[in-house]
Symmetry: C2
Subunit: 312 residues, 2 copies
């Protein structure tokens, strides 16, 4: 299959590498010049389940695609949320009538952006539990196991199964879901609490979870996600979501980690994806007439923090 | 007049000193051993409008009042909000049927605590624009001008005027107000935005005020204060309050300062008064059936931060 990985950071590199190694024609597309240059010169390097890798792979800057002849059967989207629109625009000439577009970004509502470029029948909405690390330009650290679910927005399960077959040949553990939005909302609830709250409070997840206000704050936010989700046909299992969030507080497992938004803003001084997590719930809430004051306020606080820190 | 200053920190020392110098019998009561010891040994020291002072004054620890014979005509309350109940309890034997109690604490709803100890007719609710600095145990820095307003909760303006006369003999610029709660709410709106927000965002006032979300956050919080205030007979002039808050952003005047709550929590690792500002609005909102999600969430975030930092 001809596959474009749009956004070749840690996760994009993982998917690209695994699909490339199993016989697909993979093209990476990214916007980070140092990363692109390193992969062009020395290949994708690092470790895959503990073994050293150094793999020649095709990579383009999204700004230099006009001369590239490549007709994609599948595009897998892994950009940062705020770069999605730009990326879709850059890929226009490589996306044809039959190209399937698999959206694996974190957060809520990305299909609304993708729909501007691709008919709904060609969109696969997905949710992945894989992880990946980027240790520097061109250098990845890939270990552990994961899986993903996806669903065709046009209910074209037959075509979706062809994509699943290719993903599974690469051992990416894909399966078809009839309730992808519920999975996406559930994951977004974890991100919509841990990310923003730990960022604003300058705390790891255990530190926040052990305060006597954590339960009340988290429940209020999850209830806002659930109320908005109802308008999108999502029935969130609130007790299950709350239980999953609580696993983040465990000091023996992941509790002492800071979530990715904290890494983005506090460590790397980069703009966050809050507009596509709590901010998406605030926007959708307004649209559906659902009050979402906690999501709105948290989104505002994170934006204030970005501006105070001069994040870029 | 026999006057107890309950809470002899910076502001209590100012009022105590000025009232003592103009012929009143002043007793300071406090709970900080080093401060008490220093004043007992060397007097109240520091500067008053640039001039060195060293003034012998009577001071007691609030835990050692049982043997003290002093019948107060006036008690002026300047404790931290969370210490008020304890302080009123300590003063019981010194407060008689005719003792007026002037409450000058920052924040909202302190009269509900005072009422447990003193009939409403003896309570004077006040609001002061004086400032004062404490530079260490027993050492104050007092400069600039100020004023205060007060109102009798029992509408006993005649007795209130006697207190005002004593205060004005000490050049404290007191006057009677028919709308003290409106003044208190207005000041609480400034504290209820600048204090909590700058503390959570780790920012000075200008840094927050210059973000593109500041206006929207501040308006929402002030609207919650106004909605709750209505149930207490307070008609808040919202545009005037918003204009006053905006003066805090001015880099040429006070914008580069951090508000007092930031000093308490972030600098000194002390518990904050959030429960008596935004937290009071949240509690009263619940009582009156008024939604106050921003005040509630901000109160929770500040409590989370206190616990994460291990504040005492």
């Amino acid at each position: 299959m001809n596959i474009i990985i749009a956004g070749a950071g840690a996760m994009g590199s993982r998917f690209g590498y695994m699909l490339h190694k199993t016989g697909n024609e993979v093209v990476l597309v990214d916007g980070w010049p140092d990363h692109i240059e390193e992969i062009r010169t020395n290949g994708l390097q690092g470790t895959f389940n503990g073994e050293e890798i150094k793999e020649k792979m095709t990579i383009y800057n999204q700004n230099e695609l006009s001369n590239v002849e490549f007709s994609a059967d599948l595009v897998i989207l892994f950009t940062k949320a705020m770069q999605l629109d730009n990326m879709m625009n850059s890929l226009k000439d490589m996306v044809g009538e039959k190209t399937q577009v698999l959206c694996l970004l974190n957060g809520i509502g990305h299909e609304d952006v993708v729909k501007k470029y691709v008919p709904e029948s060609n969109i696969l909405l997905g949710n992945t539990m894989w992880t990946a690390g980027l240790e520097g330009p061109g250098h990845v650290k890939l270990f552990g196991n994961g899986s993903l679910e996806l669903q065709s927005l046009g209910n074209d399960e037959t075509t979706a199964q062809e994509v699943i077959e290719v993903l599974n040949k690469a051992e990416l553990n894909a399966k078809y879901s009839q309730h992808i939005r519920a999975s996406i909302y559930k994951k977004a609830c974890v991100n919509g609490t841990m990310n923003g709250l730990c960022t604003i409070l300058d705390s790891n997840m255990a530190g926040f979870g052990e305060t006597d206000v954590a339960d009340s704050i988290v429940e209020t936010i999850v209830n806002e996600f659930a109320a908005v989700g109802k308008h999108e046909g999502v029935e969130l299992d609130i007790p299950a979501v709350l239980a999953q969030i609580k696993t983040c507080y465990n000091r023996e497992t992941i509790g002492l980690h800071h979530p990715s938004m904290y890494q983005d803003l506090i460590v790397s001084n980069r703009l966050t994806e809050i507009d596509y997590i709590n901010g998406a719930i605030a926007r959708k809430g307004e649209m559906y007439g659902v009050e979402t004051p906690y999501c709105t306020f948290l989104t505002q606080l994170v934006h204030a923090k970005e501006q105070i820190l001069g994040a870029k």
